[in-house]
């Protein structure tokens, strides 16, 4: 009996001392598990019959969000992982003359330095393939990456890129979409024009329509570029296995496109690339394409260790994509009782330094630029130009919000001038069942008039 007790006692002592030494040695800490509450889960149980109509809509994942349990990309760390930083040009139009990375390479804790010239195919893009991963040798926007470093901590990586010396030869630049159209302007990608996509949509005879109009209204509308500013900055992790297979963890919305771009830039078959999309902390259209993933992959290959890269908030603004800035010229012919009979739209999109999703944005903006209105004679002409500014890409609505601002602003101008209530003017011109859009699409189930009537009621338009 005494022996048994003795054994138990010994066990007890062993655990105690182990615990003490844990603290004394300051061994790597393991987070205590977040207690999983016994509340009923938000997702239906196996075999449970649920009904949805009339219930408050709930997101099943909000349970994890609220508990802090959701594992976003930055909450993932792989063993032996390094941290990458990319040096941004900080100059919007230049040629790299000389680069000295020796100080960075000599720093303790720095495991890999990568230049643009080391990337197998240093160019990517969703339609026009024109964007380098690391500028080499021409810099076309201030946010262009020029060299990347992987180090054991973020601070060392930052210190290393600060220690890299680069000499630039400044080149002329162009910073306004309308100036970029001028023949004498700097050509961002060489050639003889900055225009890289164009779209024309015509219906009826717009000149005849203007001739038949009682009044003609002309206005220029401008919307600036806007950054998506998701709460979660771009973050990715690249990890190779010993068989030459690459795994990329990223908060990218379009992982298939990411695999294609990774395959093309790295020069390896797509079958060797696995992209794991993590929970996205806000996208808004800005996380639809690769940013730095191939750079991280090459750093990881050089260093032989997984590499994580996270954009700073500043990089998020200068080195991601933004919403296109639009110049929109609207010319609209109406009758005195407020019927629109002709509209001519000319728009110039500021595409920034590279194409990204510009073609899609241009297309959608042109198609929607006449608004939800029946207009028998239309002429729409749109073009996107390169400038030495932050690249514009996809963002919620793909060009629709910009043109909406223009045509609705003009509708208000017209209503004011004709002395017609702005709601009435819109009701007069709205699409109906069977209406044809500017592209010839015949519409069904058109609820726009009904929606506006509801909004008018809820807003209290009559008593405003």
């Amino acid at each position: 009996m005494a022996d048994v007790l003795d054994v138990l006692e010994k066990d007890h002592v062993a655990t105690e001392s182990l615990r003490r030494s844990d603290q004394a040695l300051r061994l790597p800490v393991v987070a205590p598990p977040t207690s999983l509450p016994l509340d009923p889960p938000l997702v239906p149980q196996v075999g449970e019959q649920t009904h949805a109509v009339g219930l408050r809509a709930q997101r099943p994942d909000s349970r994890n969000h609220g508990l802090g349990l959701t594992r976003y990309i930055d909450d993932i760390a792989l063993p032996g992982m390094l941290y990458a930083k990319i040096k941004r040009a900080g100059i919007s139009s230049a040629r790299i003359v000389r680069m000295d990375t020796s100080k960075a390479e000599a720093m303790p804790g720095v495991h890999a330095v990568l230049r643009g010239s080391e990337i197998p195919t240093n160019v990517f893009g969703t339609s026009i393939v024109d964007q380098p991963l690391l500028a080499d040798p021409i810099v076309r926007q201030a946010g262009d990456g020029v060299v990347a470093v992987a180090a054991v901590t973020e601070q060392i990586a930052q210190a290393a890129i600060d220690a890299i010396e680069i000499e630039y030869e400044p080149l002329p630049g162009v910073y306004d979409a309308l100036q970029a159209l001028e023949p004498g302007s700097h050509k961002v990608h060489g050639g003889d024009t900055n225009v890289y996509a164009r779209k024309v949509i015509r219906q009826g005879d717009v000149e005849k329509g203007f001739a038949e109009s009682d009044r003609i209204y002309e206005g220029r509308y401008y919307t600036p570029g806007i950054e998506h500013a998701p709460m979660e900055p771009f973050t990715s992790i690249a990890d190779w296995d010993a068989n030459g297979r690459l795994t990329v963890y990223a908060s990218i919305g379009r992982i298939t496109l990411a695999r294609v771009d990774l395959s093309r830039t790295l020069g390896i078959p797509i079958s060797r690339i696995r992209v794991i999309g993590t929970v996205v902390g806000g996208n808004f259209g800005g996380k639809n394409e690769i940013r730095h993933e191939p750079v991280l992959a090459l750093l990881a290959k050089k260093a032989g260790r997984p590499v994580k890269g996270r954009f700073t908030r500043v990089e998020e603004f200068i080195a991601s994509t933004i919403r296109h800035a639009f110049y929109m010229d609207y010319k609209t012919g109406v009758t005195t009782d407020g019927k629109i009979i002709a509209r001519k739209v000319r728009m110039v999109l500021d595409g920034g330094a590279y194409c990204s999703f510009s073609e899609t944005t241009l297309g959608k903006a042109c198609i929607l630029s006449t608004g939800p209105y029946v207009i028998p004679n239309t002429h729409i002409e749109g073009q996107v130009v390169y400038t030495n500014k932050t690249t514009a890409g996809s963002m919620r609505g793909f060009g629709a919000p910009q043109v909406c601002f223009a045509y609705e602003s003009q509708m208000d101008d017209i209503a004011r001038d004709l002395g017609i209530d702005p709601i009435e003017l819109r009701m007069k011109n709205f699409f109906r069942d069977g209406s044809m859009t500017s592209t010839g699409q015949v519409l069904h189930s058109v609820k726009v008039a009904e929606s506006l009537q509801n909004a008018v009621k809820k807003f209290g338009w009559e008593v405003r």
């Binding site: 603290q23 300051r26 800490v29 393991v30 987070a31 205590p32 977040t34 207690s35 999983l36 509450p37 016994l38 509340d39 009923p40 938000l42 408050r56 809509a57 709930q58 997101r59 994942d61 909000s62 349970r63 994890n64 969000h65 609220g66 508990l67 802090g68 349990l69 959701t70 594992r71 976003y72 930055d74 909450d75 760390a77 601070q155 998506h228 500013a229 998701p230 709460m231 979660e232 900055p233 929970v279 996205v280 902390g281 806000g282 996208n283 808004f284 996270r310 700073t312 908030r313």
Partner: protein, 171 residues
Amino acid sequence: MNVTLTVNGETRSAEVPPETTLLVFLREYLNLTGAKTGCDIGDCGACTVILDGKAVNACLMLAAQADGRDVITIEGLATREGLHPLQKVFEETGALQCGFCGPGVILSAKALLDENPAPSKQEIRNALAGNLCRCTGYVKMIDGIQEVAETMRSVPTPALPAASKGEQKHG
């Protein structure tokens, strides 16, 4: 240098470089990843934690400054018995969409309610002034926080241990 502090009621310590922020300390040394890195310059509030009863930006504070003090992170709110009323209401009202700002917003709200159990809408707005959200918007959060304040006032002690009582009432 050694930093020892109380996190969610437990004494935790780690040896860190002096430039380590409280946010890095919590995320990388204690593996408490509930506080997020959104901007790292004190603008977005995704890193909000409660330090000695006050909501602070963990990214703007050195771990050494928190030495010996008391920190509450999002991981310390729920118990085995139930969610914190704020967590419960936020999921019910759909106040968490991508959820990245959620832990910070919930902790700012908790710090407010601990100090002022009956805040006005404007006081709630002021308390959330340092927390950015880009998806959900603030209306559902503000409504939710008011709902919690009312629920918590109707139970004897609005502190954490009583939270589970309010919970049952709520659910």
